[in-house]
Symmetry: none
């Protein structure tokens, strides 16, 4: 697998387009090959099998995605700021690539358990970034002590994910970045009146 060869990226980009446009189940290998401008057989010089295209797609795209988030957040001072930046950058990146948003939020979830297991492995790096911010927040005494780390992480990720999925399902008809602050506020303060 020669990941730095241009065809590798060519095929992955074709896969994102094809899946976004046709849906997961109508995205045959031959369709991806055609869009990438290579022969069907060539795909198998760069990927083990069809599933490997999808896993690689996710690794490649999520790698860039997470790197960007890491860059943006490290410069911020407080955990609260970092969390807001994380949410904003998360939303911004998906808003900037409509095809990718469809693929990650809707289409890739139709894959089987095995593939989703592998996708989850890629996500771990992202979850670690979240974990660290939470850790910092607790250390800085911004966040409550005694928080269940796994639940906190689920809360943050689950809410961002649910928000993006809803936006994609509404066909991206509003600006999701506008919701970042409110989502951040809900995560930080919850539903309760803060003056109580």
């Amino acid at each position: 697998m020669k990941k730095n060869k241009p065809k590798f990226k060519q095929i992955i980009d074709a896969a994102v387009e094809v899946i976004a446009e046709n849906g997961y189940h109508s995205s045959q290998v031959s369709k991806i090959a055609k869009k990438a401008g290579v022969a069907d057989g060539t795909i198998y010089l760069y990927f083990k099998n069809k599933e490997d295209i999808l896993v690689s797609l996710f690794q490649e795209k999520m790698g860039q995605f997470i790197e960007k988030i890491e860059q943006e957040t490290t410069s911020k001072q407080s955990a609260e700021q970092k969390l807001l930046t994380l949410i904003q950058t998360h939303f911004e990146q998906l808003a900037a690539d409509h095809h990718l948003a469809i693929v990650t939020q809707l289409e890739l979830r139709q894959s089987n358990k095995e593939l989703r297991q592998k996708i989850n492995n890629v996500l771990k790096r992202y979850l670690n970034v979240i974990d660290q911010i939470v850790e910092e927040g607790v250390e800085e005494e911004l966040f409550r002590d005694g928080l269940d780390r796994r639940l906190v992480r689920q809360m943050i990720f689950g809410m961002m994910d649910e928000t993006v999925t809803n936006w994609v399902m509404k066909e991206q008809r509003y600006n999701i970045v506008d919701q970042a602050k409110e989502v951040h506020s809900l995560i930080i303060h919850g539903l309760a009146r803060t003056d109580q």
Copy 2:
């Protein structure tokens, strides 16, 4: 479709088992028929096609699921209590039916856009229950005013869903009901120290 005929339920229960054990894509109609103890053709006396088994399964099981939650929550006094009860009942019911938990959290999500659309329609009733509790909370001045209802609903549902999915993916090795209180607390208070 004769939904009160025993075979209708027989087949649905078989489908839950077969899908939980074999995964969505390895759950052939013939396998479901065999488990249900009927002939392949009998399936089609009760369901339009394979997809209709899944939609009916979700309607049938989620109908009971939501009814139970409606029952449990109405008796509670405050919105806060209702929310806790909702989370607990949600967790309890899935903890009580391991197969169903696998099917709803993992396998049914592999379905195509069309099927997921139908599943979402069934879910609407549940989301309405959540909406009402939030509404009550705001009226009772337990919750903040000016909350974005859609985001709040996403927060509550997203966090429960994420929590259950994580539990299922960890092969249900811990007691998820134990997490209900903490999830509730996170939703109500968020991450921030409440004394600030």
Copy 3:
């Protein structure tokens, strides 16, 4: 098989209608039963199997068809008159029952070799009527001597059949009885100028 019971005819009439309206391949036993106002299983009290419905249909309808032709022709004096009457009565009867025309000319020909063999047996009685008229014509010295009887029969039947089929395929948009005289003339005189 109780052929004088009213249900026997009921089912046959239903079959003619269903086949004419839906085509041979979309005429399921259950559809015929429904149109006849009986249960699916009842069909099998009157007919051995599906094929037997079709054979019986043909026997029943062709029996009447041929009887009528026998009646009309015997009263005529010359073979030439008899032949004209045969052609006219053939066309008249099919023109009078549109459904039957569709079934005999188009739909029943889609049946398999076996069924068509049985249908041909029913037709033999009709071919005998034609044979006799030819025989008479030769005896009366109206027709040429030395005619190959089988070919003559094929000529007469083939031309009537082809004419009716064409009329059915043109959706019966013209009056086929008007063509009887011309068909008769072609059979009697052929294409050649008679003055030569």
Copy 4:
């Protein structure tokens, strides 16, 4: 559809054999593929679907059939000679290919209305050849004037077709070419004594 590739013809020839031997309804795609020595899937590289095999078969075989008839007839001088040649060539070609005779006279007629419509389109070219001969005959004053062209065409085609079908149903136990002259004579002169 690559009609000049050898496999295209290979599959068509296999289809003729399989259909002639097993009958239309027992001719599964897999059986045709096996006889052609290709994989089931290969069929679909050359044909849209099963029906397309049959339509292509008819086009391919009838194309050659009609071409041969066109060649043979054009060299003849009179319309009468041309008609005789047409009948002879028609019979000769089917006599030379027993399998094809069975397929065209019996098996292909079991197809549905749609398919028969397509088959009729192919036949139109043949009917045009007949029309032209009749036209010439009238111009040459060999044939009567005032003939109903459609009926004449039906007469000629219907009689040849009926003759071939009878021969096929009698399991081709006699030499059909021997009947060409008599059929020709019947069409030209009809049944009547010519001296009257």
